[in-house]
C-alpha cells in the first residue's frame, strides 16, 4: 500500500459518504453543504492524479461560485425544507433497480470489453511534473486558442441573457 493509495481510499470513503449525505439530507441547505465537501474531495482526487489546475478550478468554480448560485436558488425558492411526503412512491424502488443494473453493466463492460488499450495515456505519466500548469497553458493558448476565444463570447452572451431576463427595462410594468 503506497501512501497515495491509502490517501485515495480514505478520500473515496469521504467522497461517497458526502454524496450520500447530499442525497439523504432533508434540508436542501445541508445537501448543498455536503455537495461542497464532495467537490473539495474530488478536487483532492485531481491533485492525486497530477492535475493541480483542474483541482484549483474545481474549488474556485464549483465549490465557490456554482455553490453560491445553488444556495441562492434554494433560498430564492424557499425550498430548503423538503416535505416529508414522497410525491412519487415508485421512484425509489425503480431508481434502486436501475442503479443496480447500471452498476452491473458498467462493471461487466470494464472487465471485459472496454478496457483502454494503448490509445489512452495513463494519468500522471508525463503530466505529473512541476511544469504541468505551464504545459497546459501552452496547449490552451496555442492549439485550443479558438475554443478559448469563443468561450469569452459565450460568457458575454450569458451575461446579456441574464440581464435581459432579470432586469426590467426602465418604465416597464412589473
Amino acid at each position: 500500500m503506497t501512501p497515495n493509495l491509502i490517501l485515495f481510499l480514505i478520500l473515496a470513503l469521504v467522497a461517497v459518504a458526502t454524496a450520500l449525505g447530499m442525497l439523504f439530507s432533508k434540508n436542501a441547505v445541508y445537501s448543498a453543504l455536503f455537495l461542497v465537501l464532495n467537490f473539495v474531495t474530488v478536487a483532492v482526487f485531481y491533485l492525486l492524479l497530477g492535475a493541480p489546475f483542474i483541482a484549483m478550478a474545481q474549488i474556485t468554480v464549483y465549490a465557490g461560485a456554482i455553490m453560491v448560485l445553488f444556495l441562492f436558488v434554494i433560498m430564492l425558492l424557499g425550498a430548503e425544507r423538503l416535505p416529508d411526503t414522497h410525491v412519487l412512491p415508485w421512484q425509489k424502488p425503480l431508481a434502486t433497480v436501475l442503479t443496480v443494473i447500471l452498476a452491473l453493466e458498467s462493471t461487466y463492460l470494464l472487465w471485459t470489453k472496454a478496457r483502454p488499450s494503448g490509445a489512452v495515456l495513463p494519468p500522471g505519466a508525463e503530466v505529473n511534473t512541476v511544469d504541468n500548469l505551464r504545459a497546459m497553458a501552452m496547449t490552451l493558448f496555442n492549439d485550443y486558442l479558438l475554443p478559448f476565444e469563443v468561450t469569452s463570447v459565450l460568457l458575454l452572451v450569458a451575461m446579456v441573457g441574464v440581464i435581459v431576463l432579470v432586469r426590467r427595462e426602465k418604465g416597464q410594468k412589473s
Binding site: P116, S117, A119, V120, V153, V157, G161, V164
Partner: protein, 483 residues
C-alpha cells in the same frame, strides 16, 4: 506561434458577425427606446455584409485554427442559408416585437450571436468546437424564447427549452468524452484515424456517437426527443419560433452531417438501423399528432417535428459511399426548402396574431381567402409545400429525398415517407379549406417587412421549384467538398 491570414479567412464570416454583434450591443445602449428599428436595420445589415463575405468564399477550401474549423463548400452553403434565415428572422420580428410591446435592442443582438454560433457549428471540425458552438447558438435562443416575459407561456417556453436544452448539451458532452476516451482525440480527422486502428474500443466509440446523436436529436426535435417542441414553439414569441424552427434545425443537421459523415463512417453498420428507426418514428409521430391540433402554432410545431424526420432520412444511407453524396445533397436541398416554407408560414401566422395570444386558432383563418386573397394564396403555397404537392419546393425536396433513399436500398423508409406525407395532407389542407370554404372576418396586420418576407418566400417556394436543378447542383458540389 502565430496565425496566418489563412486562419482568419476560414472563420472570416464568424469573426465578422461576432464583432458586429459586440459593437451593436454597445451601440444599442445609445439608441433611444422609440428608435429600435435602427438596431434592427443595423443587425440585418451585419447579416447582409456577412452574407456577402460568405458568398465571396464560394469555392475556397481550407482548414484553420489548428484543424478546429474548416471552410469548404458544405460550410459555405450552410452559412449562406443560416444568414438568409437570420435576415428573414429579423424581417419577421421587426414589426412583431413592436406590436406585442416586447421590443428591446437585445432581441437583434442575441439573434446575431445565435446565427454566429450556428455558423461556427457548420464549420466545426473538432468536437470541442461543436460543443461550444452548440452553446453559443442555444443560449440566445433560450433567452429569446422567454423574451415576452412576464407573459407566462413565454416564461414557460424559455424555462422548458433551457432545461431540456441543457440536458441535450449534457448528452453531447458525455458522448464527446466517451469518444475522446476511445480515441484519445476530439478532432474529427483524428477520430477517423483512431477508429481505423484495431486497438480502439469500438464499443466506447459507438456509445459516444450514440450519445452525441441523442443530444442532437433533442436540438432538431426528433422523436422520441421532441417532447419540448410543441410547448416551446407555442409559448415563445412567434417571430422567435420562426427563427428557431429553421435556424436551430439547419445548424443541428449541419453538425450532425459533418460529425457522422466525416468522423463516424466506421460506425455506419450500427448507426443505420438507429437512424432508420429515428427517421421513421419522427415522421409518423409528428404527422399523426399534428392531425388533432387546433392551434396553428402547435400544428406547425408538430409539422416541424415531422420534417425533422424527413431530413433524418437523408442520413440513413450515410455509410454507403455510392449514394451518400446524393442523399446528403438531398438533405441539404430539403433544408433550404423547409427554411423558406417555414418562414413564410410563420409570417402568415404573425400577420394574423393579435395581442394576448389571440388569433392563433386554425378557426381564426376562416374567410381569409375572401378578405385577404394574397395572404391566403401565400399560405396555400406554404401548406402545399409542407405537404409536398406541386408547384412548390417541398415537392422537389421530397422527390430528391425519396429517390436517394430508395437508391440506398431503403424502400421501406421511402414508403413510410410517402404515407406520412399523405396523412399530413389532411391537416395542412384543412387550413386551406378553412381559409376558402368557411365564413369569417379575420383581421390581419399590414407591415411592410412582414408582407415583403411572406411574398418573397412564397415566390421563392414556387419559382425555385420550377428550376430546382441549379440549387440541387450547388448542394451536390457542397457535399462533394465534404469528403
Amino acid at each position: 506561434m502565430n496565425l496566418t491570414s489563412q486562419d482568419y479567412q476560414v472563420l472570416a464570416p464568424y469573426i465578422l458577425l461576432t464583432a458586429w454583434a459586440c459593437v451593436l450591443l454597445l451601440v444599442d445602449l445609445f439608441i433611444p427606446k422609440e428608435r429600435k428599428s435602427v438596431t434592427a436595420l443595423l443587425a440585418a445589415l451585419g447579416l447582409a455584409v456577412t452574407l456577402g463575405v460568405t458568398l465571396s468564399q464560394v469555392g475556397i477550401e481550407q482548414v484553420g485554427f489548428f484543424n478546429m474549423a474548416a471552410l469548404d463548400g458544405f460550410s459555405t452553403f450552410v452559412n449562406a442559408l443560416l444568414l438568409v434565415s437570420g435576415i428573414l428572422g429579423i424581417a419577421l420580428a421587426h414589426g412583431y416585437v413592436k406590436r406585442m410591446g416586447i421590443e428591446r435592442g437585445e432581441y437583434y443582438t442575441l439573434l446575431l450571436f445565435s446565427v454566429s454560433g450556428m455558423m461556427l457549428m457548420a464549420q466545426a471540425t473538432d468536437l470541442i468546437i461543436v460543443f461550444i458552438a452548440l452553446e453559443l447558438l442555444s443560449i440566445p435562443l433560450y433567452v429569446l424564447a422567454a423574451f415576452a416575459r412576464p407573459q407566462l407561456s413565454s416564461e414557460e417556453a424559455g424555462m422548458k427549452y433551457f432545461l431540456l436544452g441543457a440536458f441535450a448539451t449534457g448528452f453531447v458532452v458525455y458522448g464527446t468524452a466517451l469518444v475522446f476516451g476511445a480515441t484519445g482525440t476530439t478532432s474529427l480527422a483524428g477520430i477517423v484515424a483512431a477508429a481505423a486502428s484495431p486497438s480502439t474500443s469500438t464499443l466506447l466509440l459507438t456509445i459516444g456517437a450514440a450519445l452525441v446523436l441523442v443530444g442532437f436529436g433533442f436540438k432538431v426535435a426528433a422523436v422520441p426527443f421532441h417532447m419540448w417542441t410543441p410547448d416551446v414553439y407555442q409559448g415563445a414569441p412567434t417571430a422567435v419560433t420562426a427563427f428557431m424552427a429553421s435556424g436551430a434545425k439547419i445548424a443541428g443537421f449541419a453538425a450532425l452531417l459533418r460529425v457522422f459523415a466525416t468522423a463516424f463512417p466506421a460506425l455506419a453498420v450500427d448507426m443505420t438501423a438507429v437512424l432508420w428507426a429515428l427517421a421513421a418514428l419522427t415522421m409518423i409521430v409528428g404527422n399523426v399528432i399534428a392531425i388533432s391540433q387546433t392551434d396553428i402554432k402547435r400544428m406547425l410545431a408538430y409539422s416541424s417535428i415531422a420534417h425533422a424526420g424527413y431530413i433524418l432520412m437523408a442520413f440513413v444511407p450515410y455509410g454507403n459511399p455510392a449514394v451518400r453524396d446524393v442523399s446528403i445533397a438531398a438533405g441539404l436541398f430539403y433544408l433550404v426548402a423547409y427554411a423558406f416554407t417555414n418562414f413564410g408560414a410563420w409570417g402568415v401566422v404573425i400577420a394574423l396574431e393579435k395581442k394576448e395570444e389571440k388569433g392563433l386558432a386554425i378557426a381564426d383563418y376562416a374567410g381569409l381567402g375572401r378578405k385577404h386573397p394574397l395572404l391566403a394564396a401565400a399560405m396555400t403555397v406554404f401548406m402545399l409545400s409542407l405537404v409536398g404537392l406541386p408547384p412548390t419546393l417541398g415537392l422537389v425536396g421530397k422527390v430528391y429525398l425519396f429517390r436517394a433513399v430508395i437508391a440506398g436500398g431503403f424502400t421501406g423508409l421511402a414508403i413510410i415517407g410517402v404515407l406520412t406525407s399523405l396523412i399530413s395532407a389532411y391537416y395542412y389542407l384543412r387550413v386551406v379549406v378553412t381559409m376558402y370554404m368557411k365564413e369569417g372576418e379575420p383581421e390581419t396586420v399590414r407591415e411592410t417587412w412582414l408582407s415583403l418576407t411572406t411574398a418573397l418566400t412564397a415566390i421563392v417556394t414556387v419559382v425555385f421549384s420550377l428550376l430546382p436543378q441549379s440549387l440541387f447542383e450547388w448542394a451536390s458540389t457542397a457535399v462533394l467538398k465534404l469528403f
